[in-house]
Symmetry: C2
Subunit: 456 residues, 2 copies
């Protein structure tokens, strides 16, 4: 008999995300009869998502129940799992911030763009609500920044938090496809902190597969990089990723090569530099790459709207029922049905990754079942990678969190002063001041006790 659970989705307005979740749930018979509560502050998007999800379940013959609410409290009441996918302020505010910082010498802004306030504040609120309203629920953090956010939530609340990120799987898929390997023969391990993970183990049919990568670099990378249309993601086998591989001796996995800006700032000096390292467009987070991403997103939204507007359309045709590859539903299944499995999670370290404090959230494989989530003690990340990449990421995260928790903007100055593209104290100060004055950052400016919020 299937286990019936109640799953709350916070920030469910992303139809792509929410339909992906429904699809995976419909494909998991052992969770049949469960309830999904979609919650979003935007009533129109919420209605679209909930209606499409209900249609999807009906078309699949699933007895999943779909509810919707604009109230977080109502969504969380009696939830067994809470999926937090909310992005405070959406992409618009981030884009304005990037454009502003560009004028101050930080091409494409600071990384992570979600930092400093809005997401932290929202994440902490969600975790506090979980602690209060459904303390036994697992809080599955899906939106970024997973590293900062999960560390913040587990330190500041008693909520059971786990961060999930699909980046490593996208990376490994791109690697496997590009090298022409049979996915079934590949095994890997890539520990670290979210968006800074390193391929410490990479085997193909039991043998070390790094020599296959070396041969690809030698023989095929040049042609790969000169293609007019970039491969999926543009990231995993970019010149930047291979350059980091040469420097560190391990391949950075998934988003790592582009996401470790504070430590690998020299790839991000300007648009031309980004194009050199992520040809031909400059990568996912470049001007051109991001525009392509948003256009793709718009296309997906338009497709969803078209289906939503036509009650006779079959949702399962627009979104064929194939597993998404996301780990959210497998994690819920493993815990709810006490079905032991291994997943890649972001949880407090507790000794799993050597050299990182216990209360910092690391990304490691874990054993998951009804007993909870136990991170695996992985083989250490080599010293050169720890000193050059992982520990600086940790320090930068601690500065951002300490700034948020204390409300002391001097921590944010520390973040900026340690950014490799900062040329003077004055530049850092002016940039921070400008960000605080940006429309939409009123609450942030108040939090840090400085002038701001549309005042300039």
């Amino acid at each position: 008999m299937p286990t019936v659970v109640r799953i709350a989705v916070v920030g469910a307005g992303s139809a792509q995300f929410s339909l992906g979740l429904i699809r995976d749930l419909c494909l998991t018979a052992e969770l049949g009869g469960s309830t999904v509560v979609f919650m979003d502050v935007d009533p129109d998007r919420l209605a679209t998502v909930a209606t499409l999800a209900a249609r999807y379940a009906a078309e699949m013959g699933s007895d999943l129940r779909v509810e919707r609410t604009q109230e977080r409290e109502a969504a969380l009441a009696e939830a067994d799992f809470v999926v937090n996918t909310a992005l405070a302020g959406g992409h618009g505010r981030e884009e304005a911030e990037r454009a502003l910082l560009d004028q101050h010498g930080y091409h494409r802004g600071l990384h992570p763009a979600e930092g400093f306030f809005h997401q932290y504040d929202l994440m902490r609120e969600v975790a506090r609500d979980v602690e209060r309203l459904c303390p036994d629920a697992w809080l599955i953090q899906s939106s970024n920044p997973v590293f900062d956010g999960c560390t913040l939530m587990t330190r500041e609340t008693g909520a059971k938090v786990v961060g999930l990120c699909h980046g490593p799987f996208g990376g490994i898929r791109e690697l496997v496809e590009t090298l022409g390997l049979d996915p079934g023969g590949v095994a890997f391990e890539a520990p670290g902190v979210n968006h800074c993970v390193w391929l410490t183990q990479f085997r193909y049919h039991g043998q070390d597969a790094y020599p296959l990568l070396d041969r690809w670099i030698e023989e095929e990378s040049a042609a790969y990089w000169s293609r007019a249309e970039p491969a999926y993601g543009e990231t995993q086998l970019s010149p930047a990723a291979i350059d980091l591989y040469r420097f560190y001796g391990l391949l950075p996995l998934g988003d790592t090569s582009r996401a470790i800006w504070p430590e690998a700032w020299w790839y991000h000096l300007d648009a031309a530099t980004k194009r050199r390292w992520w040809p031909p467009f400059g990568g996912f987070d470049s001007d051109a790459g991001w525009a392509r991403y948003l256009a793709k997103l718009d296309g997906a939204v338009a497709a969803i709207k078209a289906v939503a507007a036509d009650p006779t359309a079959r949702v399962t045709e627009a979104f064929p029922p194939q597993p998404s590859g996301e780990q959210i539903v497998p994690l819920i299944d493993a815990i709810a049905n006490d079905r032991r499995t291994s997943l890649l999670v972001n949880v407090p370290n507790r000794g799993a990754l050597a050299g990182i404090p216990d209360d910092v959230v690391v990304e490691v494989p874990a054993v998951v079942d009804g007993g909870g989530i136990r991170p695996a003690v992985v083989s250490p990340v080599p010293q050169r990678v720890m000193l050059g990449a992982v520990l600086p990421q940790w320090l930068a995260m601690e500065r951002r969190l300490a700034g948020f928790l204390s409300g002391d903007p001097r921590y944010l100055m520390q973040v900026l002063l340690a950014e490799g593209r900062t040329r003077s104290w004055e530049q850092a100060e002016a940039s921070l001041d400008a960000v605080m004055r940006l429309r939409g950052n009123e609450a942030m400016a108040r939090h840090y006790g400085v002038a701001g919020g549309g005042s300039a």
Copy 2:
């Protein structure tokens, strides 16, 4: 009855240092009859020092015995204490390196100037010799870099190592004199790592003395900073130190404000910037300040030579028998005579300073007696100082040491890439290459497996 010990001084050619040591020993009756063995590779300087020291002891009516040798092994045989004050290559090579790096965008070179190879190699050799020849001896590390060197020696050998630095005492003296306080009423604590220590406690007659500093800043600092002739040291109450105090909430003590270059790089962009923060000359390590320092050193050497050349001169007149304020002889006295005292030491952390690994050498007060050196568990350094200054110093030290221990120059690239004044990967690479090719760096280039050593 005094305890008779054998003290070996490695790198004893500095007459100022060695005469200071003799002077302190002559003033410590409880060590009467002990033997000092001066060792240096330079026979002329060695002869001068040993002769002057013997004359000093005779004039003082002390029964200290003075020996000399050019052989380290001979000096260390049966030593109870080994004082290492050697600077590999002397100031000349360092100056050439600074001039070279200046051309590559690093005004006055990289910090610490003693890093990367020469001093590490020498320190490790000395520690290995101590381990082999006099394993029960205490190795007192006096020359820089104390932080890197003591961490290296304690990790790589079984020698009992303690680093001593007079910087904090110079700093506290300058502070006390400038604020017009009675030194006897002042108590302080300034933990951290060598050259990055912070005044966590500062009391005057039992009361918090920070308000006295605040009043001085408000009322007297402007006049102090506009003086044509800088105060002693130019460091402790410089605009840079007070700026850091405002930023961190604690006063950096002694050499800290100028020594934490990698983290406070914005004070060191060029000569004009340095003059602004360390008026009027730009501080001890500026072009002008360093020239003054070397001239002062030359003057002292000339004075010493004049006394040495005149057998009828009284050495005790040129160097009046007052305690130097150095901790070396008090430490020897405390251990040899089992006289419990409190000293400021650099030893492996072992939990004394929260947030720093156990095998990293920290600068903390310690209880010292015949039982050895026990670091005191100090109150934590505030998070803002740890994240902004102490932990980055630790990371940079680990990169330098890992580079030295592995011979992998990519660690040195990490050091340069994290330097706030580095503008591009190419700049870092060209700078490292130039340093390796510098005459005198042949062994370093071989160690790192790169081209170098006068090859350009």
